[in-house]
C-alpha cells in the first residue's frame, strides 16, 4: 500500500479509537494489525518488546479504573487497555514496514509536502548517529572538568543546540550549493506509485471500520 495512505489510515483509526469506546472493534483492529505485522515478517524480538513495554501504561490505567475509581467500570478499563494496543500495533504497521525515506518521498510526491520540509527532515535524520556521539562527547568533556551534565542540565541542551545550529547552517549551504532551490519543481529518481488499487484498499478499509463501529458493541 502507498506509504502516505497507510499513514492516514492509521491516523484515522487512532482518532476514531480515541473518541469511541467499542471493546470489540478495538480487538478486531488489534487482530488485523497483528496479522499485517506478521504478514510483513516483523521480528519476534521487536513485536514482544512492543507488547511488553505497552503493558506498563496499560496496567496503570486498568488498575486505577478497576480498583481506585468511583465506578469500578471493568468494561471501560478493558476498552482503555485495548485502545493503547490499537495505537501501538497500528503505529507499528507503518513504522515497521516503511522506512523514513519511503514515507517522506511519498508525502512529497503524493501529498505535495514542500520539498524543503521533506529534505530538511531527511537531512536531520541522517545526522542521528552524529548527534548521539556529540551528546556523549559533551558529557565526557564535562566530566573531564569535574562537571556532571544530567539530562535536566540546561548547559547540556545549550551545547548540543550550538552544535546543531552550526550543522544546520553547513548542511543547508551544502544542499544549496548542490543545486537545491526551495519551491522549485523537481524530478524524482524514485517514483512512489499511488495506484487506484491503493485508493480502493484505503476506501474499503475506512468503510469497513465505520461498519464495525456501527455493528459491534
Amino acid at each position: 500500500m502507498n506509504p502516505s495512505l497507510k499513514l492516514f489510515l492509521v491516523l484515522i483509526v487512532a482518532l476514531e479509537a480515541t473518541f469511541t469506546s467499542h471493546l470489540y472493534v478495538n480487538l478486531v483492529i488489534i487482530a488485523c494489525a497483528l496479522a499485517a505485522l506478521l504478514y510483513h515478517r516483523i521480528g519476534w524480538r521487536r513485536l514482544s518488546w512492543l507488547v511488553v513495554i505497552t503493558l506498563v501504561p496499560a496496567a496503570a490505567l486498568f488498575v486505577t479504573i478497576v480498583f481506585f475509581s468511583p465506578a469500578h467500570n471493568v468494561h471501560f478499563a478493558w476498552v482503555l487497555v485495548t485502545r493503547l494496543y490499537v495505537y501501538v500495533l497500528t503505529g507499528a504497521t507503518v513504522s515497521c514496514t516503511t522506512s523514513a525515506l519511503q514515507l517522506v518521498q511519498s508525502l512529497e510526491q503524493n501529498c505535495h509536502l514542500p520539498s524543503k520540509f521533506a529534505y530538511g527532515i531527511l537531512a536531520a535524520l541522517n545526522l542521528l548517529p552524529r548527534i548521539h556521539q556529540e551528546v556523549r562527547i559533551i558529557r565526557v568533556a564535562g566530566q573531564m572538568r569535574g562537571i556532571t551534565l544530567h539530562w535536566w542540565s540546561p548547559r547540556l541542551y545549550f551545547k548540543a543546540i550550538l552544535v546543531a545550529s552550526q550543522w544546520a547552517d553547513q548542511l543547508a549551504q551544502a544542499m544549496e550549493s548542490h543545486g537545491f532551490v526551495e519551491g522549485q519543481s523537481r524530478t524524482y529518481a524514485h517514483r512512489i506509485p499511488l495506484a487506484s488499487r491503493d485508493w480502493l484498499t484505503f476506501a474499503v478499509l475506512v468503510v469497513a471500520l465505520q461498519a464495525l463501529m456501527i455493528a459491534l458493541p
Binding site: L7, F68, A71, F76, F117, I131, Y157
Partner: protein, 185 residues
C-alpha cells in the same frame, strides 16, 4: 531575507527534535519506573502528568528561538515526527500527540501576539499547554471515569511539570543562547 521557514530553519528544528529525543531516551525509564511505582497506590496515570513537561519541551524552545508564528507548533510537531522515525513504541500515534502538544504551546505564544518573550510568555504557554494536553488525555485515557480528587491532583502536577521543564528549563536554555548571541533579536 523574507520571513518564514527556510531549509536551514527546518533542519535546525528537526535537529532540536532529535536532540531532545536522544536526551530523553535516557529519561524514558523515569516514566516506566514511576508508572510501576505509582500503580499499586492507584496513581499510575499520574506518571504521565509528572513527565508531561519533558515531552513538551521542543515546542516552546523553538517558539523562543525563532520568534515567528508557527515556530512552536512546527518545533513540537517535527520533534514528534522524528520520534516516530526513531522507532519508539507509539509509532504514528506520535504525530497526533505532536499536533496536540504543538497546538497547546503555539496558543501560548499566540496569546502574546508574538511580541512578548519573557516570563509572562512562559506562564501563558504553560497554562495553554496544560489545558490542551489535559483535554486530549481526557478522551484518550478516559479521565471521565477517574475520581475528582485524583483529576485535581493530576492537573496540578501536570501544570507544575510543564512549568518546570517546558518553562523554567527552556527559559534557562534560552537565556544561555541569548547571551551567546545565537538568537536573532
Amino acid at each position: 531575507m523574507k520571513k518564514g521557514f527556510h531549509l536551514r530553519d527546518i533542519i535546525l528544528l528537526a535537529l532540536i527534535g532529535i536532540i531532545f529525543g536522544v536526551i530523553y531516551f535516557a529519561a524514558a525509564f523515569v516514566y516506566n519506573g514511576l508508572t510501576l511505582l505509582l500503580t499499586p497506590v492507584g496513581y499510575g496515570p499520574l506518571a504521565n502528568d509528572i513527565t508531561m513537561g519533558i515531552w513538551c519541551m521542543a515546542g516552546p524552545l523553538a517558539g523562543f528561538m525563532f520568534r515567528l508564528p508557527g515556530a512552536s507548533f512546527l518545533g513540537e510537531f517535527l520533534g514528534a515526527t522524528v520520534e516516530m522515525f526513531l522507532g519508539d513504541q507509539w509509532g504514528a500515534a506520535n504525530l497526533i500527540s505532536g499536533v496536540v502538544q504543538g497546538a497547546g504551546t503555539e496558543i501560548g505564544f499566540t496569546l502574546t501576539g508574538y511580541r512578548i518573550y519573557n516570563w509572562l510568555t512562559v506562564v501563558l504557554v504553560t497554562v495553554a499547554t496544560t489545558i490542551v494536553t489535559f483535554a486530549w488525555d481526557w478522551f484518550r485515557n478516559g479521565y471521565s471515569q477517574f475520581a475528582v480528587h485524583m483529576l485535581v491532583v493530576m492537573i496540578i502536577v501536570r501544570f507544575v511539570s510543564i512549568f518546570l521543564f517546558a518553562g523554567v528549563l527552556n527559559k534557562l536554555i534560552i537565556n544561555m543562547l541569548t547571551r551567546a548571541h545565537v538568537i536573532r533579536r
